[in-house]
């Protein structure tokens, strides 16, 4: 009886322990499921965040493309009016003089022919810049060079493009957005800085492309950026963020401005 009683105690104790452990493990299972759900939620949030970023990127890309089209149209309009139009007017005047003259002035005719061929060259350049494929096929450096060449022709300021490191290719869409950032920077310089010299540096680093747009203009107070008054400059920074890079604007009144854009290649 005594032995049986002891074994009964052991049995009850054992059963209590086992049931306790089993229920504890079931609670652990609930904990595991909660952890699983929590981890999954975090991953869902990360995916949604990524999708939002992608949407912002696409929106920015579209906006950049539209702005570039608008910018190109403005340039073409100005080029036709100020350049081709002027040259053709001159050619017309020259031809009129030849027409009214009693003898054929060969040197004037040669001048008229030269004017017409110059106008044709300019029109070809315009046609080139109209072609959106041109931007896609050219490297960022080449299209920047074209842009600087155009500014040079205005005769307001001297421009130069310098490269550091071995050239690497950028993603197509990133290239467009970066080019738009460069265009925006150049427009700001032309409109507000009063600079006489623009220098653009392409530093091809190991993982990033670093671009510096340097001017020797009047500069500005950096508090403008904090007050969000410089919308163009704010645009530059937000665009750089969208492509996974960053933009930094350094300016001291009277000492010019340096805009630095850093973008990963991929």
């Amino acid at each position: 009886m005594c032995k049986h009683g002891r074994s009964m105690d052991n049995l009850s104790q054992g059963i209590t322990i086992v049931v306790g452990v089993a229920i504890s493990l079931a609670v652990v299972a609930v904990g595991i499921i909660s952890l699983f759900l929590n981890y999954r939620n975090k991953r869902v949030q990360a995916i949604q965040e990524k999708e939002k970023m992608q949407a912002a990127f696409n929106q920015q890309l579209l906006q950049s493309q539209l702005e570039m089209q608008e910018h190109t149209s403005n340039i073409i309009s100005a080029e036709i009016h100020d350049n081709v139009g002027q040259i053709l007017s001159l050619a017309k005047v020259q031809l009129n003089i030849i027409d009214q003259g009693e003898t054929l002035d060969r040197s004037l005719l040669a001048d008229a022919k030269e004017s017409v061929s110059k106008a044709m060259t300019d029109l070809r350049d315009i046609a080139k810049s109209l072609n959106s494929e041109q931007i896609k096929l050219s490297s960022l450096q080449e299209i920047t060079e074209l842009e600087l060449h155009r500014i040079n022709r205005l005769g307001l300021m001297a421009t130069s493009l310098k490269t550091n490191g071995e050239t690497k290719n950028l993603q197509e869409q990133k290239k467009l957005i970066i080019f738009r950032i460069i265009q925006e920077s150049l427009q700001n310089i032309i409109k507000h800085s009063g600079a006489k010299k623009i220098e653009i540096w392409f530093h091809y680093e190991k993982d990033n492309l670093k671009i510096e747009v340097v001017d020797n203009g009047r500069g500005f107070d950096k508090t403008l950026l904090e007050k969000k008054e410089g919308l163009g400059l704010q645009n530059i920074m937000s665009r750089a963020l969208v492509i996974g890079g960053k933009a930094n604007i350094n300016s001291v009144p009277g000492q010019g401005t340096v805009i630095t854009i850093i973008s990963p290649y991929e």
């Binding site: 074994s7 049995l11 059963i15 209590t16 086992v18 493990l25 299972a29 499921i33 869902v44 949604q48």
Partner: protein
């Protein structure tokens, strides 16, 4: 379908709820059918070859265990503690495999609308809790002397039934949730 099968099984099981009847063979059949059902179920929901092969391995192992007990060693006298323990353990592993699969292919669609998630969660609660009971049942059976002890060991089954009840609530909550939210 799930509820129809469960009702039929419960109907037949109710004829066996008599304490004096030796129901070891029914438990062996339950283990076999459980193994077949769960391994096929996970075979269907798991995606990678390795995971599918694991489910087939469990199916084969369950069948071999049944053949060994019923036809080779004819072990009708003792409850198959080890068999049930292994079954629970492998089910837990397959649930983790399924959770891993869910985490690898996360979508923003609510996981609560996925019946397989509720089912797997219920399996995890039930099997993680009850594999200890299955494992210790044989050891504790040695201490059984009389009817009083046998009644006492019934407490183990009570604990196991609580887990079964909780996991059933989990599945039913899932079904109600899915129906309500689909509407």
């Amino acid at each position: 379908m799930f509820y129809v099968i469960a009702t039929i099984l419960m109907f037949f099981a109710s004829f066996k709820v008599l304490p004096q009847i030796d129901n070891i063979r029914e438990y062996d059949l339950l283990l076999l059918s459980g193994t077949i059902f769960i391994s096929i179920y996970f075979f269907l929901i798991l995606e990678t070859k390795f995971k599918k092969r694991f489910a087939i391995f469990i199916l084969v192992l369950g069948c071999l265990n049944f053949i060994k007990r019923e036809f080779i060693f004819r072990q009708y006298s003792a409850f198959d503690s080890l068999g049930f323990y292994m079954f629970s353990l492998f089910t837990i592993i397959m649930v983790f495999m399924y959770f891993n699969q869910l985490l690898k292919a996360v979508t923003d669609k609510s996981i609560f609308l996925n019946f397989d998630f509720w089912m797997s969660a219920a399996f995890l609660i039930y099997h993680l809790g009850s594999f200890v009971i299955f494992l210790s049942l044989y050891a504790l059976s040695i201490l059984v002397y009389g009817v009083e002890d046998q009644l006492s060991i019934g407490n183990l089954w009570a604990g196991q039934n609580i887990l079964l009840f909780v996991s059933a609530i989990c599945v039913n909550t899932g079904v109600v949730w899915i129906i309500y939210h689909r509407e």
